[in-house]
Amino acid sequence: MIREPRAKRSSRLSLTQREAIYAYVFLLVPLVFFATIRFYPALQSFRLSLFTWHVDPARRTFVGAQYYQDLLSNPVFHQALTNTLLYAAITVPVSIALGLGIAILLQAVTVGRGWYRAIYFAPYITPAVAIAWVWGWMYNVNFGIFNRIIIEWWDFVEGIGLPWLAIDPQRFLRDPEVALPAVAVVIIWQQLGFQVVIFLAGLQGIPRVFYEAARIDGANPWQLFRHVTIPLLNPVLVFAVVITTINALQLFDQIVNINFTDQGGPLGRTLSIALYMYQEAFSRARLGYAAAVTVVLFLIILVITLVQLRLTQRRVEY
């Protein structure tokens, strides 16, 4: 008689327990995956960066922060870091401004909006490796289409008697001053569609009432844009800035392929952190040092992510 309620309680308990057990059975494989393929390697990178590299773990010697000190004084790392920040400094504002501009234009049209959107988006999903080869061909100094256009233009303006409008043929990827902006153009071209799509969705999410109200109050188009569109688009803008920045920090595919015979060149002017890491690890077999490079990259991305979290939590209220 006394046992019965107790039995009842334990069976109710086991119902919750049953659900928990099932949950963990379902999570078993994924948890093993995340632990061994995601967490352990991330920690392993920290650990590897503190040791000299050897295939046999017993023969790796502890060097402490040596590799980090090497990094800080290594001019090639400095160059890779500077280049990578430059990629971000060029591609982020330009692709966001263009993406927002195109999204606003798309909002103004009704016929063919979907097709325009698709055309702008297409490069975003095509393989970056192939894209880089196509642009490398267009940038080719002797036979590339860009220099052909420049020469045609030269002939044209000379023909009509305005030679001062002529432009010199460029060495593009062979010119240390021009190579990085030339690569940045490819990156902007490729990811512009992503910005267009998310900005267009963001713009369509802004209730028309806000525009109507502001217009009744006598706001001009610029004021509408500055005081209605921008504040209401803020979360999307922050998201776009962060995604574009992180992409720029991880550039690899395009850099390797666009200048394949002189990767990162000329004179290291297009070298990115990811490519530097790859070369150190897999061409020079300095895995410990390369691991230290990736830890620095991780820290930079971590800071950006935390700043993003802070910024998106501050919502605009109307």
């Binding site: 994924p30 392993q44 798309l106 394949f260 990811a274 790859y278 991780f298």
Partner: protein, 291 residues
């Protein structure tokens, strides 16, 4: 009375029409600018195709269009290189990977959204935190691991890093959270097993999420370069991006062949994009703006 209300309505319709018609000049300008931009977007693809149909001599000449359109470059790339093999490798990896991503991300997303168990929050945050770790930081340990276990030059080696992306878990969890609780309670009362609740009640209702995730997983795999470059060391295990990069690197100035190879890598993706255009773009919106 009736006539007046009709007149009123006509007046209203008129004003709506003029309101819609008003931004005419701007609309034309928008079309002009968008068309110019679209031409710039399409140009590299067009130039790639045009170049790929020229012969070795003509590709270096100033001619814009080939005097004789030739498929010879494609034939040469397909027969001289291991392109069919790279294509098959990419296909195998992308299909298996997508299958794994769909099943496991949905399962984990479901468990985190709908089941109650201790430690749920910790597991969710742990999985979320993996999103902050860049691939670059993981490839060195993955390589060390692969060398140790003999995964270099195997399909498993190409596959294992992307089996369950944290992003997919997060996305599917969002989808499962929007489903009404009653559905699952009703299922429980009817004696559906825990796995059945996921498979037969939850899964059919998150179709759009699965479609977006599946397409992204497939395209992401198809385009992946860094890890396949590291782990596929023998020629027979290369994927399409690794294959075309190394082939083009050896081809020197045979731009007609390089453009044909690039076209072979790009065209399948563009075809898939044209077919699934709406789902892909909606997927970006879904994962980008709301995620």
């Amino acid at each position: 009375m009736l006539g007046e209300s009709r007149r009123l309505r006509r007046g209203l319709e008129e004003s709506v029409r003029t309101y819609r018609r008003r931004p005419n000049g701007w609309t034309i300008l928008a079309y002009v600018l968008l068309t110019l931009g679209a031409l710039l977007m399409v140009f590299p693809f067009a130039w790639m195709l045009v170049s790929s149909f020229k012969d070795a001599r003509e590709v270096l000449s100033p001619a814009i269009l080939p005097s004789q359109w030739t498929f010879a470059n494609y034939v040469e790339v397909l027969t001289r290189t291991a392109f069919p093999r790279w294509f098959m490798n990419s296909m195998i990896v992308a299909v298996l990977n997508t299958a794994s991503v769909l099943f496991f991300c949905a399962l984990v997303g479901y468990v985190l959204a709908r089941m109650r168990f201790p430690g749920k929050q910790v597991i969710f945050i742990a999985i979320l935190s993996t999103l902050m770790v860049p691939t670059e930081m993981l490839v060195i340990p993955w390589f060390v691991m692969s060398a140790q276990f003999g995964w270099i030059d195997t399909y498993w080696g190409l596959l294992f890093p992307g089996l369950i992306p944290g992003f997919g878990v997060f996305l599917m969890r969002q989808f499962f959270q929007t489903l009404p609780r009653d559905l699952f309670d009703a299922g429980r009362i009817d004696g559906v097993s825990e796995f059945g609740l996921f498979l037969r009640i939850g899964l059919p209702l998150v179709g759009p999420g699965l479609a977006a995730l599946g397409i992204f997983a497939f395209i992401g795999n198809w385009n992946a370069f860094l890890w396949p470059l590291i782990v596929a060391q023998s020629a027979s295990m290369r994927t399409v991006p690794v294959g075309i990069a190394l082939f083009s690197g050896e081809a020197g100035s045979a731009w007609h062949l390089i453009m044909a190879t690039s076209a072979l890598a790009i065209i399948p993706v563009l075809v898939v994009f044209i077919i699934f255009q709406r789902q892909i773009i909606e997927g970006v919106v879904l994962t980008g703006v709301k995620g």
